[in-house]
Amino acid sequence: MTESTIFTIAFILYIGSAFFYLAYLYSKRENLAKTGSAIALFGLLLHTLALILRTVESGHAPFTNMYESLSFLAWATVFAYLVIEWKYKVRKPGAYLLLIVVALMALASSPLMPKNATPLVPALQSYWLWLHVSVTLLGEAFFAIAFITSLMYLRAEAREKKGQAPKTGLTAERLDSISYRAISVGFPLFTLGGLVFGMVWAYKAWGTYWSWDPKEVWSLITWFAFALYLHTRIVMGWKGRRSAAIAIFGFLAALFTYFGVNYLLAGLHSYA
């Protein structure tokens, strides 16, 4: 089987997993969610195989164009979600996260994304490509989880105010705490991959560790946003709605760093 066939099967499995998680959301039957996460895990394993095959075939890290990096971001999001689900025993965010994953996979498979593995331009031939992109995207995947749990928090909090008890035992307070946990993992990863490894690589390739390129500035903005989240929470004791709002803004900034900068702002990071 080729890499693209395996990729497609993984894609279909993610769709199946999203379907089961959604069914769980409506029926509250725990077994549906368990099936959903088993399918997601199987999809993740196949997706891993597809990424390995791609690496072997092209001879370079599988994130050098938009198709490859979208595929890797989808992989990282499933991975991060399964870790959080396993660790904190929450299954409800699965439906929304798998929908995000399906959207990423659909975008990756769309005809707009050139899929053929092109030879690497000189600037990307570096092991820092591995370190910089993989760690950054993994960090962003955890921000995606905080984004979803923060949105869920806002809804749960509004319901609890009206006196409705949460149906699956997932309280607003717990969602707030999971957002914080996800950011506690994502923030150090993003700092290491996005900022530190990025600076080292920029110094090696361009001769300057920081050049105020729009992508650099936007990753700094993302970093500031999550620094704001942590300080308001830990030092000033903010929780709940305001924290959720900052986490949502932070993820949107990360998303803009990843997507928007490439399409809307010109700069040095014109590869992917």
Binding site: P188, V200, Y209, V235
Partner: protein, 451 residues
């Protein structure tokens, strides 16, 4: 005044406001293209363009006000960190052991145990059990009461301070880079030697190589360089993209390449219209009149364009530095009188529109054009860079301590009553209280079982 200043800088609210301003300003800087010409801003924004320049929005990240916000922010970080440091140092190195059992019972994680043995015996059991869980135990005895203070991963409380220290080191590195860093660029053709500005040594390009993939796209550029100091070669190394060369604090990066189309070698075929068997091959250099053997003719290439195009003013110019549409302005003279002149095109040999003195005698064709490749090297001397890497390492260490080295503390107060021991225990954990609670409960139940 002093108090107001101190309150200003120790306030976390001020830090938050500065952080929000920094976010907003940084976003603004990505919306307005930075460092363009005044002309371009006028075209893009009209009258407001001038205002943007006055407010330094067009060089925002180097502007006085952006740097001022950064400076205020750094000052706030320094002062906030110092103010919070002293109680933390006390807690870490000179902790107090409170002998009052109620001080333990107000903690969120807590328990009470009665042991049938003497306190001295209980103390041994407590120390053994806490040691098994990697706690370091401090002991204090007074008024027949024993107090135990057991902690682990105490360095975790300094995580945020270490992060702040890392950031400050990075900022210091940035200031040094900005004030003392030197950047330049060297354009070298093969065998050319150029002095490196402000360095006291020179660089020679020995060879410039472009590696291609089988499909023709560029795989790599390599410049083989020799550093020459005091007329002696001291170091030879090849520089590639992502693999710079360092020498005496100067770093050389492969940043560009090109061909020297100002000074090409041109191959021209000279044909005669009325003599199909006639063909002469002539090599020309721009601006150097070259005699054609066997004819009383002198050819001169006066101008060469690698990618010929007529610009808006209908003047010949080049669209790129690639050989897409090479053209040469050529002139033929006999005894100082022009025989023909005009542009000839390698891709369109019949397109030439010549001014001919004698109708159609000669037909020159451009067959080939070669140019010396040159390599563009960025040079940089950045004394701030090592501080940046130290700062990054400190920053990551701090993040690790802050997030993954949670300090745990268990306090126990032992009181004797009628030969038996009453223990009040309580605990504090910076993070993951559930995990700590189960560890605490485990220790307590182990103590209950000791006999």
């Amino acid at each position: 005044m002093y108090r107001a200043l101190k309150n200003f800088f120790t306030s976390i609210k001020v830090a938050i406001v500065l952080l929000i301003i920094l976010i907003a300003a940084s976003i603004l800087g990505t919306l307005i293209p930075q460092g363009r010409s005044a002309q371009e801003y006028l075209v893009r924004y009209g009258q407001i363009g001038g205002l943007f320049q006055k407010l330094q929005f067009t060089r925002l990240y180097q502007s006085v006000w952006y740097i001022a916000i950064l400076a205020l922010f750094s000052l706030n970080i320094i002062i906030c960190t110092l103010v919070r440091l002293s109680p933390k140092l006390h807690r870490a190195f000179r902790p107090k052991c409170d002998l009052d059992p109620t001080s333990v019972q107000v903690l969120k994680v807590k328990d009470r145990i009665k042991m049938a043995q003497q306190p001295a015996w209980a103390a041994q059991a407590i120390k053994a059990e806490l040691g098994r869980h990697h706690y370091r135990v401090r002991e204090h005895t007074a008024e027949k009461k024993h107090c135990f203070l057991a902690r682990k991963r105490i360095l975790g409380i300094f995580g945020s301070d270490v992060v702040h220290l890392g950031l400050l080191i990075i900022l210091a590195g940035g200031i040094i880079s900005g004030l003392t860093g030197v950047r330049g660029s060297l354009t070298l053709s093969e065998n050319q030697t150029l002095p490196v500005p402000e360095a006291g040594f020179s660089v020679r390009l020995d060879k410039f190589i472009t590696d291609l993939y089988p499909d023709g796209s560029v795989k790599d550029w390599k410049s083989e360089l020799t550093i020459i100091e005091g007329n002696k070669p001291v170091l030879q190394k090849s520089v590639e993209v992502n693999h710079p060369l360092s020498y005496k604090g100067f770093v050389f990066y492969q940043s560009g390449y090109g061909s020297d189309w100002e000074n090409p070698e041109l191959q021209v075929w000279l044909k005669k219209k009325n003599d199909p068997g006639y063909l002469k091959t002539i090599w020309l250099r721009v601006g150097q009149p070259t005699a054609v053997e066997g004819e009383d003719l002198v050819l001169t290439a006066t101008r060469f364009l690698p990618d010929f195009v007529l610009d808006e003013k209908n003047q010949p110019s080049t669209r790129s530095l690639e050989l897409n549409n090479p053209a040469v302005l050529i002139q033929g003279e006999r005894y100082g009188a022009e025989v023909f002149s005009g542009w000839i095109f390698a891709k369109f040999p019949d397109f030439a529109q010549m001014h001919q003195a004698q109708e159609g005698e000669f037909k020159p064709e451009l067959k080939d054009a070669k140019a010396q490749p040159y390599s563009v090297l960025q040079t940089a001397k950045d004394p701030g860079v090592s501080l940046i890497w130290v700062g990054c390492a400190v920053l990551m260490l701090g993040l690790f301590l802050a997030f993954y080295w949670p300090t745990r503390e268990i306090r126990l107060v032992l009181e004797e009553s009628q030969g038996k021991t009453e223990i009040s225990a309580g605990g504090i954990s910076a993070k993951s209280r559930e995990v700590f609670q189960s560890e605490f409960d485990g220790i307590m139940s182990a103590l209950r079982k000791t006999k």
